[in-house]
Amino acid sequence: MNLPRIVITGVGLTAPNGNSLPEFRKCLLEGVAGIGWLDVRYMGKLLAGVCHFDALRHQKKKEVRVGTRAGSISIWCAHEAIADSGLLFETFPKDRVGIYIGCTEHGNVETENEIYAISKFNYDTKYWSHYHNPRTVANNPAGEASLNLGITGPAYTIGAACAAGNLGLIHASQMLRLGEVDLAVCGGVSESIHTFGIFAGFKSQGALATHDVPAKASRPFDRARNGIVVSEGGCLYTLERLDDAKARGARIYGEIAGYGVNSDASDYVLPNPVRQAECIRKSLQNAGLAPSAIHIVNTHATATTLGDIQECEAIRAVFGEGCPDTYINNTKSFIGHCMGAAGALELAGNLPSFDDLVVHPTINVDDLDPACALPGLVLNAPAKAGRVDTILNNSFGMLGINSTLIVKRFVA
């Protein structure tokens, strides 16, 4: 089957350590983490990654008040991506634009807020906000972006736990190839830090990171890792068919080379390295690439003891010892776990490697867990690579959803 080639032409993001790709990349190369303390309802001060973008750059005050944090993140990222793409958006047919946004979950923030609000009125539900339903529908983050930007094409979210960011790009590629839209705004967002529930849930699970020094808290592969740092964030891309991008002379960040998506079908929360390896292999097969042709593997590893080891097991099963040109890194060590945004953000952090041939490191590895000692792991300082033509991005999520996306250097 001769499918249209899909390329990335714009990036808009907000991360706990940057509100644009250049800012974000600079932090990744200079070892600057973005973790701090956040006062969480009922729980007190906890480690979290907080974003500091200016929502009022693209929204009216009323939109911010009526809408959701996830909506604001989506709107920010969508505007920034479209601006970055250089498209003449004012005249672009808005019914030919699709918005596909991956989410880990949505609505918990607003529901918790409403319950807290009515607790001040003896739980009388007549004080429950009439905005609750539009705020909590699963399509809210995409819907708010469509309202703000006047996009009348399909706009919806894709629920895929922490694999969702990759799924946003994968689904968008499929829709572009089907000719459903001519421009896709896609990726993932998360506002999870504004709910106590996600922190409490991970804490009850024994999977919430603690550390005296926030910047050292997220430490995948380190023997002293003790769990996840929850973060918010977003990253949306503009994707186009290559012919369209070339016709308008667009700058091309990279080309979608292939992807794999599968399910563990084995546990609610525990990962399954056999299925993860299958997912990675599916992506390689889809891209028509051998493992040795992959130059950067960006891991999903969240700094849980078991999860990191199991992903390393999956990577070892696919890449073995015979891939001397393959570097492996992790972005969560800088920004924590941005949940539905993770896959999209972590890919973005690596895209500049096509130009500078530098692989950003995994920081906070003071004592490498031998079970995570993969060949090619880039620890604590950037590595200069001989060549970077391919990036393989892993993102896995609860209920066993796995996604692997491969992006390659664009060659005409």
Binding site: K60, K61, K62, R65, V66, F121, K126, Y127, S129, H130, Y131
Partner: protein, 87 residues
């Protein structure tokens, strides 16, 4: 409470629910929707805030009474004063 104080209370609510609006020249005898960017959800917000902040209930059948500042004052001032008399 005077009618003017009542109008001020309503404007304070509108300032929060429509923070982009300039409220310095709101004409009291003109419908709020004709001079401000307010939709039906915003009017539900006014009703909700009257309930939350002041304990005043506005039944759905009376929503039309909130059309302008003058009609708000005419309708709400007696309610404010009745509540004040109770407390």
């Amino acid at each position: 409470m005077t009618n003017e104080e009542c109008k001020k209370a309503v404007l304070d609510i509108i300032a929060d629910i429509a923070p982009d609006e300039d409220l310095s020249n709101v004409k009291p005898d003109v419908r709020l929707r004709d001079q401000l960017q307010l939709d039906s959800m915003d009017f539900l917000d006014i009703v909700m805030e009257l309930r939350k902040r002041h304990g005043i209930e506005v039944p759905e059948a009376d929503y039309m009474r909130l059309a302008s500042l003058d009609s708000c004052a005419e309708y709400l001032t007696p309610k404010f004063n009745a509540l004040a008399a109770k407390s």
